[in-house]
Symmetry: C2
């Protein structure tokens, strides 16, 4: 029997759209509810306590909306508030963006793994801890790259601004010997090509959204949660009106989406 309840996805803003888009591509017959907490973005500079408060409210809202699974499409939220989100979700399946990636990377032929992410994600050492749990011989080097989110949000991809910023960050001495890089923020897949160019093909860039959605499918199958809706609904909630959110949601999902302001 099909379970046609929606999949809930949330992020502080538009970054999670890279994950939501991958869900739509690999699960084209599932309904999706997306919550963008634009009133409080960005999460990356805020404290654990504050981030957790926001995440719990959103999770409870998605549970109330009858979601069958919740994808935390935000590294900062995962790194700081995963346990609290799972608790707020009760019996609902929760998929995060860090553990599936950490697990996959830990069992591949890598030696030195670089991670770029927000300050709050780096400070939590979520990637390092999670990768080392699977394989304690790996070297994991985390670096905060907080300018990349606003550059992406403001539409400055593929400009001299993004180029000089990416090059400045990645040229840091501590990334000298990495062979793999994890884009530890759901915004960063949007600059994947520029990161690849900065390393001149020398470093393997991990495709996080694909890994995360494969894990979601695996868990949905295991828990008998797969649905089939001929013409699925894509409902986007946002907590404060911002120009960018509406524009990017449409850019990623096409025009046939519902956009709704929702103050929690």
């Amino acid at each position: 029997m099909n379970d046609n309840r929606p999949i809930g996805v949330f992020d502080s803003g538009v970054g999670g759209l890279t994950v939501a888009k991958e869900i739509k591509r690999l699960l084209p017959n599932e309904n999706i509810i997306y919550f963008g907490d634009t009133k409080h973005l960005p999460y990356g500079d805020k404290s654990k306590e504050t981030i957790t408060k926001f995440c719990k409210k959103i999770t409870k809202f998605l549970v109330k909306e009858d979601c069958k699974a919740i994808v935390i499409a935000c590294n900062t939220a995962t790194a700081n508030s995963l346990e609290e989100i799972k608790e707020a979700a009760g019996d609902v399946l929760v998929i995060d963006v860090i553990s599936p990636v950490a697990k996959k990377v830990a069992y591949e032929l890598n030696q030195n793994i670089g991670v770029i992410a927000t300050k709050a994600t780096v400070n939590s050492h979520a990637y390092k801890n999670c990768i080392r749990k699977h394989n304690r011989h790996l070297k994991v080097i985390e670096m905060a790259t907080p300018l990349l989110v606003p550059i992406i949000e403001e539409g400055f991809r593929n400009t001299s601004i993004s180029k000089s910023t990416i090059e400045t960050y990645l040229a840091h001495k501590k990334f000298e010997n990495i062979d793999t890089i994890i884009l530890g923020c759901t915004h960063y897949p949007l600059i994947e090509k520029e990161v690849q160019a900065a390393f001149q093909g020398r470093v393997k860039v991990i495709d996080s959204p694909l890994i995360v959605v494969n894990e979601l499918i695996h868990q949905m199958q295991k828990n008998n949660l797969m649905g089939f809706t001929e013409e699925p609904n894509y409902h986007f909630y946002f907590s404060d009106y911002t120009e960018n959110f509406a524009k990017l949601a449409k850019q990623f999902f096409g025009k046939s989406i519902t956009l709704e302001l929702k103050r929690l």
Copy 2:
């Protein structure tokens, strides 16, 4: 008689420190309370309704702390919520960062005035409206430059990143003929020299904090609010702990300040 009640200053984060520092320099015997709303920063992308809600709470807090004057050291807050802040302040003197600057610029020998600011400030047209109220013959060209705040917050002043970003923004065709530029965000005085360099001395850069504090002094004298405290207190409240805030507050005010987390 001296009025030794504190002057209240607020901003979404550290930007207002440029104004607070100028108050300390020109009024070295006044007590200052600073409120940085780091839990909700940045204001520049948020809606008028949301910004106003935050500002009213902060204003009421500063009134309760017995401030004799409140300086809105944030252009976005001024542009979106000035009337509501004045209402919340009751009888307390309110000084904003836009009207004194607009008035001064309107009566100088300028023809074409450029303004760089956050999106929310530009969308409000507060500078254009305020300048044209004094002199309707002036041409006022406003441009949103939202990347500059995170670049400053992240400590990338005087780097290839700030250089390419400032040059990209200021090279815009609509700034071709300006003779004056207003730095319409309290963060921007920190990159004043870089802006000057980008224009190669061709354009006059307005020193907003100086103009704002001169207006504050003028109004305090007029209203008999001047104080004299031999060793004044500088009390900094912030609504969420961020590394940057504590660091910059100390950098601007020296180490003898009080820092206190305050959730409103």
